[in-house]
């Protein structure tokens, strides 16, 4: 049985394969072609933490492929949590459906769920741990919008310390021949031990030094909670905000990505430029999740 727990469980070949499959599903994801390959299959959504985008896009992916979805919401989860173990919940729900999507606040929860499940488990975020479907849709976006993964130059901007999205993405990017710039305030820099662990062409930089060179600007949210006081937060987040001015020297083909939701890391004025790809990126979550669902269930 195949689970999808961590991006680290996948090699370059696996990733390339999933991205290729996703491409075949794109018109189905848009509703332009009907393909009911998951008819009769039921997906169980186990969200122990709130999520809109991830949960909805899994649901859409499943339904576009003719399948059905049962949901357990965060609210229901919290009442279950008081009485029942995660192991038992998973044992029960895996008897109801053909695959499980799980989001849980504890790191390693998805792997533990997989060990207790009789059906494939897909990790949709385990606390500060992994969120592999996000990484796959990020890679898919780069591949689609830049035409390739090997040979791209990418700047990762914002909270590089706590963002699990960034940590998984860096690991996956280093499986390809990519050049990575890390752009963040000192307080939110990628931890040194992580920098040591990852091989590849990775270096810290200032955005104005590299903006002309990058193919992708990947922006993440800087969270207020990470700062001792409001003023410090405002100062830092202000200086990492992407505006028309920040990107004035960028290549025409440069794309801006963001895992969303954004607060004010990207000025809405940027939305109208050809660079803005974050909404497209969110859509790509559907064909990528279709590829994953069909892979684990068929």
């Amino acid at each position: 049985m195949r689970h999808l727990i961590s991006i680290n469980d996948l090699d370059r070949e696996d990733i390339t394969y999933i991205l290729k499959r996703a491409e075949e599903f794109e018109d189905v994801a848009r509703g332009e072609r009907s393909l009911k390959i998951l008819e009769g299959k039921i997906l169980g959504n186990l969200f122990f933490e709130p999520s809109t985008r991830t949960r909805m896009s899994f649901e859409v992916a499943m339904k576009r492929l003719g399948g059905d979805v049962v949901n357990m919401t965060a609210q229901e989860a919290s009442s279950i949590a008081k009485g029942e173990t995660l192991a038992d919940t998973v044992r029960v729900v895996s008897g109801y459906c053909d695959a499980i999507v799980i989001r849980h606040p504890l790191e390693g929860a998805a792997r533990f769920a997989a060990e207790n499940s009789s059906v494939p488990v897909i990790n949709a975020g385990d606390g500060a741990g992994q969120h592999p479907t996000q990484t796959l849709l990020d890679l898919y976006t780069i591949k689609k919008e830049c035409g390739k993964l090997d040979g791209i130059t990418i700047a990762l901007v914002g909270d590089l310390k706590y963002s699990r999205t960034i940590h998984s993405l860096i690991k996956a990017l280093t499986l390809f021949e990519t050049k990575i710039y890390l752009v963040s305030p000192d307080a939110l820099a990628l931890p040194d031990e992580m920098l040591e662990e990852i091989g590849g062409d990775v270096s810290r930089a200032r955005l104005d030094e590299v903006i002309e060179e990058v193919d992708v600007l990947y922006v993440t949210r800087i969270q207020k909670e990470r700062f001792p006081d409001e003023e410090e937060y405002r100062k830092v987040s202000g200086s990492y905000r992407i505006t028309l001015n920040t990107i004035k020297n960028a290549k025409d083909s440069m794309i801006i990505m963001h895992p969303l939701p954004r607060v004010d890391e990207v000025d809405p004025a940027v939305d109208k430029t050809r660079h803005a790809k974050y909404f497209q990126q969110a859509f790509y979550g559907v064909p990528v999740r279709m590829a994953i669902l069909s892979e684990v269930m068929l």
Binding site: E107, R111, F112, E193
Partner: protein
């Protein structure tokens, strides 16, 4: 003539060259605790030509399994095992850490599922030796730990 810090045993297991101060942890790893009825002796901080100071544990009447002994390598990579039969050393070998250890180490990450109180979850770590240093990575959360003696559960 060699001096024996503790008396000779007829049959059993002698664990020698334990890192100084870690004999109690070795007993813990072997599951020998307060309730045991085995005859066990332990010497701590005895001087050693090889290690400066070392600890020794002797367990009478029992040959401890290699699987159990291998766990000792997590905290004392230089330990040697001497299996004693009829007062003589029948076999002497060095401990080798296992590649995977279950239920020995406790993950320091409070948000790790392996620390969830009511879940039927076992701690699992993958052990690695680099340049004579033993480290381990949690199967669930991926946290890497060094100085494993601090994480014996």
């Amino acid at each position: 003539m060699k001096e024996l810090v503790v008396s000779k045993i007829k049959d059993g297991t002698v664990i020698d060259h334990i890192n100084a101060g870690r004999a109690p942890l070795v007993l813990k790893i072997l599951g020998i605790d307060v309730g045991t009825d085995l005859t066990v002796s332990m010497a701590m901080n005895v001087s050693s030509s090889k290690m400066g100071k070392k600890d020794i544990v002797k367990v009478e009447g029992m040959y401890i399994s290699e699987e159990k002994l291998s766990k000792i390598a997590l905290i004392s990579p230089n330990a040697t095992i001497n299996l004693i039969r009829n007062y003589e050393i029948e076999r002497k070998f060095k401990v080798n850490p296992p590649e995977v250890v279950e239920e020995v180490l406790k993950c320091p990450n409070p948000m790790c599922v392996s620390n969830a109180e009511r879940e039927p979850v076992r701690s699992i770590f993958y052990v690695k030796i680099e340049e004579n240093e033993v480290s381990a990575r949690c199967h669930y959360c991926g946290r890497k730990i060094k100085d494993l003696a601090n994480y014996i559960s």
